[in-house]
Amino acid sequence: MRAAALKTPLGTRAVLMLIALTYVGVMLLLQLGAVLFEALHQGISLWWAAVTDPDARSAIKLTLIVAAISVPLNTVFGVAAAWAISKYNFPGKGLLVALIELPFSVSPVVSGLVFVMLFGANGWFGPWLEDHDIQIVFALPGLVLATVFVTFPYVSRQLLPLMTVQGRAEEEAALTLGASGWRTFLRVTLPNIRFGLLYGVLLCNARAMGEFGAVSVVSGHIRGETNTMPLHVEVLYNDYNFVAAFSVASLLALLALVTLALKSALEWRYRAELEARR
């Protein structure tokens, strides 16, 4: 009876599917196609010239450096926070959960402005930093800080539900078998979360490389020095250099595809093990 009641008429299903496919097509695939078309429609040599231009190469390098610093930082923090929150009770736990999510609800531009207000020449710590010859805003440290802030929640949000469901039982078993806390983490906790962790890191990395708003405020837009890839795309676009802008943008789009492919490949590679865990 209930199964019959749940059966949706064929027409309704077709309409729902059509809506979903159209939506995905218009909102996602069209954009991706447009980027690739604009990047390549005047030939591969122009695309190659745009992505190997010295300013573009510097932007790519800077983006990779920023991601290489901020992603590991947020991975370590994310694992530690998810571990503490899901496996222990402590005062201020609710506040910590709320704070971790803060970057999701704050506009990246605002967070960028906060860093300028704190560390800029006229900021709270500006004079002190100047006295000690430390530059944060309009330099690499500022870019890293802004990126860390924006990508803060990705790893921990991915792990929290997973680790909460898993509970403490396997860790307790490891402890009673004589494993130290650190060994328990390496041999039991980490293997149990590795897929969620990898996915969180991939997402965090994609966002770190693609971040625009917060980074834009603290960067200062010095070509060849403090421009990351998204900022370089904007500069090129504002110069009416559309082919070059879309060429660099196509690299960022490629990153999204690589992220997706990696995730699918991981799921396929370990599908037997994932099923065995059920």
Partner: protein, 238 residues
């Protein structure tokens, strides 16, 4: 090795889980902690394991005061109600886990580990299943693996938290028999938690009956049946 518990108390937020409990268990004895849910029996077992820390009172294994010793250094075996096997490891690696985390100097060689694992698999009547993953086993088989894993480091004290709670009646009977046999064969001191009085009386040498954080009576099954120490015990037995 005997166990001595001296006036142990533990509170969870507002209600007392254990209220000044004292208990003395002889070496090699098989003891059941019996009581309704919320009586504190599991908390007492977890305090023995070092998984909970009492607010007051002391815990001794033999002459050693282990109250402040972490779970990993107590040298006990613990069996959980829901097995808590490591899902990403084979049965053999689950059983060998306790050996593999020993300090390098004390750790047995690979061939010795294999010999011990095979021996333990035979002991719990699961020979040849070492290469399976826990998810490929039935509930009863998983609990046997958990028992073998808890015994791998040859603990002198074995603690079991509702070890048959998640199993159906037939498997439960089989496993009870196996546990009693292993207890006698190895001469360990065993303490298990249950809310099933038939199980407690049928299996244990002595039964401690708990009620709201206190021990109402600690005696053999016959003595409890013949002389219930309180109205609670009398009504609990009915």
């Amino acid at each position: 090795m005997g166990i001595k518990i001296e006036r142990v108390s533990k509170r969870f937020s507002d209600y007392p889980a254990l209220d000044g409990v004292s208990l003395e268990i002889a070496g090699g004895e098989f003891v059941a902690l019996l009581g309704p849910s919320g009586s504190g029996k599991t908390t007492l077992l977890r305090i023995l394991a070092g998984l909970e820390i009492p607010e007051r009172g002391r815990v001794f294994f033999g002459d050693r005061d282990l109250t402040d010793t972490p779970a990993s250094r107590r040298g006990i075996g613990f069996v959980f109600q829901h097995y808590a096997l490591f899902g990403h490891m084979t049965v053999a690696r689950n059983i060998a886990f306790g050996l593999s985390v020993m300090p390098r100097r004390q750790r047995p060689s690979a061939s010795e580990v294999k010999r011990r694992v095979d021996h333990l698999l035979a002991l719990v009547q699961l020979p040849g299943l070492g290469d399976r993953y826990p998810s490929q086993l039935s509930g009863g088989q998983r609990q046997r693996v958990a028992l073998a894993r808890a015994l791998a480091r040859e603990p002198e004290i074995l603690l079991l938290d509702e070890p048959f709670g998640a199993l159906d009646a037939k498997v439960r009977r089989e496993l009870r028999g196996a546990l009693r046999t292993i207890h006698e064969e190895l001469g360990v001191t065993s303490v298990f938690v249950t809310h099933d009085q038939e199980e407690a009386f049928g299996l244990a040498d002595r039964v401690a009956i708990l009620n709201s954080g206190r021990i109402e009576q600690f005696a053999s099954a016959d003595a409890i049946r013949a002389h219930p120490a309180s109205d609670f015990v009398r009504s609990f037995l009915e």
